[in-house]
Amino acid sequence: MPGSSRAKCVRLVIRQACAILAIALVPAAVSGGVQLKWRHEEPLAADEIRPAVARALGAEALFVDARTGQRYAQGHIAGALLLNNESWDDLVPKFLDAWDPDKKVVVYCDGGGCDAAEEIAGRMRRELQLHDVYVLKGGWPAWQSR
């Protein structure tokens, strides 16, 4: 093959490869974008709050740790109070002493499949008739990972 024909052929191959890459990039970008969007906008229940939003509340939120006393002792959100089903009767007075009607209550547990936070938040609404109560989306692991 003469040199000019070979160069032409190489250019053609490169051009075609670039065209294929460009075409492939479009769906890849769309798919990646959609996946990222989904990851960020994981469905949030009406009573849930995202860690970033809860963090932004600062002193306007009272954090409640619904895990066991042992898990609480291993680490918890700064300023969070312990309140769990096991010791509800003993711990509620201390929680109510710290509670402020003008602050939001954010309850968390270990995230994932844990449902202690939902239970404690439910008891606060049902038994104490508190209304501004939220469950931290993803719980303690999500709080730590940000």
């Binding site: 089903n85 509620v92 109510l96 547990c109 499949g113 449902d115 202690a116």
Partner: protein, 216 residues
Amino acid sequence: MQKYLCFLSCYLLPAMCAFADLHWDKPLQEFNKTPDDRKVEAHFTFKNTGATTVVVKSVKTSCGCTTARLDKKVYLPGDQGDIVATYSYWGITGSLRKLITVVSDDRPDQPVILDLRVFVHEPFEVKPGLVYWRTGDPAEAKVVRLTADGYPVKIKSVTSSNSRLSVSLETIKSGEEYAVAIKPTDTSQKESAEIAVQTDFPADAPRVYTIHARIK
């Protein structure tokens, strides 16, 4: 097409039928309990109805309040098993639900979800369990209703832990309905009180209900 169907019928279908399979008798179980029961135990029985051995890789519960016990992990064809789930609900009332996730090697990507539901009937309802005033509010009494549901409950005494938040009991219908009025002396400063309502129910271990009062 014929070749494809032949392949499907000769190889794939028998292979699919030969898959191990755990058959669960009652993957959803419901119980009615009282707060004093404090826990519920459910037996989720199953049988390996497939042709190959199944290994149960994990049994996970949705909270520390629930335990699930399985005696062995390997189940030969025809073997039966029993997961004993114990849920301690610590006196919580209402509709409660716990899930137990079982992963076995025959379908590692499709865990079986066992569903344990409990309705805990509260025989004596205290509403609301918290009354509060803001500092500077009028020092008016707030009323808490106590209602028996299903069993006659008598109130033996009502006492406040703080003399600045006094209490008075009104019997609306003996054994069925009461009202406790809580009145602050004044609301000039923050106060807290736990009000103990001593009942005669249940007869063998009478319960004390607590009303919380705060001046914020």
